[in-house]
Symmetry: C2
Subunit: 672 residues, 2 copies
Amino acid sequence: MDLSALDAQNPDHWRRAACIRTLTLDAVGAANSGHSGMPMGMADVATVLFEKHLSFDASAPDWPNRDRFILSAGHGSMLIYSLLHLTGYADMTIDQIRNFRQLGAITAGHPEYGHAKGVETTTGPLGQGIANAVGFAMAEESLRARWGRKLIDHYTYCIAGDGCLMEGISQEAIGLAGRHELSRLIVLWDNNNITIDGAVSLSDRTDQKARFAASGWDVFDCDGHDPADIDRALGEAKASPRPAMIACKTHIAIGSAAQDTAKGHGALTDPKLIADTKAAYGWKYGPFEIPGDLKAEWEAIGSRGRAAREAWEAEFALQSATRQASFTRAFAGDMPPKLSATIKALKKQISETRPKVATRKASEMALEVINPIVPETLGGSADLTGSNNTKTADLGVFSPEDRKGRHIHYGIREHGMAAAMNGMALHGGVRPYGGTFMCFTDYARGAIRLSALMGVSVQYVMTHDSIGLGEDGPTHQPVEHLAMMRATPNCLVFRPADAVETAEAWELALSQKSTPSVLALSRQGLPTVRVDHKTRNMVAQGGYVLADAEGKRQAILMATGSEVAIAMAARDLLQADGIGTRVVSMPCWELFEEQPEAYRKRVLPGGPVRVAVEAAVRFGWDRWLFGERGKREKSGFVGMHGFGGSAPAEDLYAHFGITAEAVAEKAKSLLK
Amino acid sequence: MDLSALDAQNPDHWRRAACIRTLTLDAVGAANSGHSGMPMGMADVATVLFEKHLSFDASAPDWPNRDRFILSAGHGSMLIYSLLHLTGYADMTIDQIRNFRQLGAITAGHPEYGHAKGVETTTGPLGQGIANAVGFAMAEESLRARWGRKLIDHYTYCIAGDGCLMEGISQEAIGLAGRHELSRLIVLWDNNNITIDGAVSLSDRTDQKARFAASGWDVFDCDGHDPADIDRALGEAKASPRPAMIACKTHIAIGSAAQDTAKGHGALTDPKLIADTKAAYGWKYGPFEIPGDLKAEWEAIGSRGRAAREAWEAEFALQSATRQASFTRAFAGDMPPKLSATIKALKKQISETRPKVATRKASEMALEVINPIVPETLGGSADLTGSNNTKTADLGVFSPEDRKGRHIHYGIREHGMAAAMNGMALHGGVRPYGGTFMCFTDYARGAIRLSALMGVSVQYVMTHDSIGLGEDGPTHQPVEHLAMMRATPNCLVFRPADAVETAEAWELALSQKSTPSVLALSRQGLPTVRVDHKTRNMVAQGGYVLADAEGKRQAILMATGSEVAIAMAARDLLQADGIGTRVVSMPCWELFEEQPEAYRKRVLPGGPVRVAVEAAVRFGWDRWLFGERGKREKSGFVGMHGFGGSAPAEDLYAHFGITAEAVAEKAKSLLK
């Protein structure tokens, strides 16, 4: 490809874009790993975006009203690292660029939220970024409606590649954005015709513009190497009353011997290729060298938004103290102080009235008192609103007609919902929670894992958490999903036993600032086991003695959720036979693990027998069956040993032998 | 809605379709649970499909060349159960219909593969069926090319609802089908405008016809209650040279008070509503009653394909004995007898040459000897062909131009790939395997779980199985995924230590007829630890003594995959200090668990100390740290305690302390 024409037409632009390209070549070359082609191909688009459109201030990366820039095609991480360095983000030094992909550097292989300022979300698993972007744009709409345009009024830009658009999650995101007419969302598609295996046409012939248009987007084209054309398309996209997709025709690895090839997607590390490519760019500088004049031009771009940011701060200072405090609290992710008292009052009422309700219903009861005092919550469900009990009385429905509505009909899109919630949480100022059936954590896994990896506080309301779901059968009955989520680092899995524990779980979940929570909730009604009101949040300890042995302790029964009542009934049977039995409720293993060892040993002392009860697979329970003082004890497990079945819930519990009688028998047999 | 006009126009059709509708009302009413509206709404479409187009023989449900009918909208299970009963499938008695959703019945809440004949795949988790259908259609194309039109030449029909089409997996399926021009695939979209939460427009405004067309499908419309129009559309769809989607405009819960409402989606159980609806249908019969003349009409439909089936059998009988045996073997899911000898020869060669190769490369080495002798394998990768090492030398690439090609470029579509592979395996005659990075089991979870639930032998080639992936960082590094898959019932998780174990794992995986396998394979090179050739397949025992203690046994080190070499090096360190150390390789926990307890105790006797080493979270390991004779032993774990990092692999192993020195130190500290 003859680059001289491009250079000649727009020499200033060309030199600025070349900074991104050469930093990419140098960093990938030094790391001997990475992805060169995408940052090289999209450098012109990104340069125009940052230079002419993106509202940001490199000296204030956390300015709440900045435009958000999301690199969904995260393998092209050197694109964003280059931009952050060039525009003057303080933490993105040239040494960080030099240490691309090395231990301890903030320049990870894929952009990681929390490492470098300016990285709005973790990307790399394809399609996540575009779905995050939908969440960012929804948060912006919600916040603009709530706080007014003077405080929140910005765009969300997203660069997505062919990989992002082939992943199914992108369709969920596209559909959601189209339905909600998210006009502040602009997706720049890196249309380079190349994937790892070769030409895109090897695996896909989709007309992407037609596909987006089918879901209510406005679509635009541009020559991704012509700055004027890029600028025009961005202007048109911003003016569009619908979400906009710009198909940017680009050449991957432009100017290199690997241009327009799958090889160009990966790491270009051959020194001669790098040298030749720089020569083709007319680049005369050393590795990692950005000449002063160019750096100054880029830093001017980095401060383009400074006046706007300062004007925003002045505007913010004019707000009432109450509004300022509320805004700041919400963006800090803090709960209002009165949450604790509100939950205590609810707990007291439950312990007194002792309702027999499903914990999904108990979750709604908690949300009914939470949502009015935490105005930043944004609830939702993946088309199971009435089953997940996520929509409280006065929440309203989010829509283009009512941006103040706080419940979102996500549609049958678990993965898109989870990723959008990640985007909302990352945007700040809102607190998303959303529901589906526990079994469909499967569908949302890719995004739930990223909640945990990024450390964002998203609440997953996962109802119908066992065979207690009944007739819908094994396709809808989780058995391995508790284990799956408990195995995930930095994720709290709550499985509350009754309405009191559910209220406590909600308080704890919302109080997390850097950890997502999964609330595993029953379909079926459960008796109140916490019949004595305690102001203390017992779930906070993860596991605790719900009922101690009368007389000499001979057995410890451990259970979670709907099986705690079964353990309590088994305790009655055992005590009636003179067998002193303790019941330990273990609603959150992760919090129990975090307690001092002495506490755990007090809760789980010598038994001499232990039985765990959970309507799920045993996998993971050996930690508690053998752990702490349990090593020398006899122990057993009452639960599932395979997939469930289709029948009324009570029939299934009997069929799979998860009953008080079976638990008591197991304890007795171990005592023999 | 006035049904009399419909009735008057096509009274015979109307009465036949009413059989489906009334059986649905009766079964859902009796179960007091289920989904009435969809079978009622799609009864006309299904009646015309079965009566005029679907090639099948109810008396021979396993006829290999039958058309396949897939109910992707699986909640409408009474549609297919009614059809199977009416057309005379022997196992689908009226008692089974009466026992809809009850324990032990073959009429589960959602259609379950393996329960009732005629149910080609398990559906219910939305979107799976349409993606399975793509796999069925790909299998048909492959088999038709291989065996000729006289043996394989059929259509795949799929009924999908709005939920299926909102799930992201549907886009992956649509894109794949469009690219491969699967002209024998016909999707009937139940276009009823209703989801559980209300109108589809609450969450989606997508023009589905435009969306399918954008990916290369032909699209058609029909009035889903006009049999002539349905027949016309089906005829046109069959004639189309591309995959076809027919938008069937229907009324959910037609004729009932809940017609066209979200209430109609669920269980209609009110006796008056049921009675009124039957009256509107002009139905005069008792519950579960199908008058003899109507049953006879339906059974005639059930035998429509008998002549075609018999002609096929006659044709099959004309084939050579070799072809017959090969066809029968492939459809039975049996491996050729020489597989065992082939693997043994490969193992011998590896043990002699002792290569240091990544197990993903070892997997390719195994496939290089397997694929030539197992001609039914269909390999593939989700756009990581060169990284997953799934494409062996002579496999060819499946495409419209070469249907005999046996490697599939699935594109960046892990979920769609997994579901398509399920479809292929269910079709029979082909053996699918496909690859992606282990971390992206997340994306494919929904379909992998169904492989396990259905019991189909799909091989998941999951490479880059730990922090050994290196610089791509934590977004691409599995840490909880081994636990996640091990927790899943009926799924073999193989994590081989070297090229010998990899070959053994492949032999075992392919020998499974009702269990899928996940092969967790390293990116990085691993030394051959099985240096002494054994003809016996050692992986078949799941865990075994790789190297025993010299002198008195003081420590047992347990490891899998890439950490076995680390355990062996730790053993060298410990033995040098006079500490007798056994190394147990545990490539497949599930198979080890299936061994007699006596064997497990021989492999894991008293230690007196045990250390497990795995570059993953500890979750699940307590089973082996404390289990068997380990309860009274001291034990420790060397592995991951959170997410990974972005750096060269060796730096990460050192950083996270997963080294021979750390393992030896752990053992020594426990011995103190």
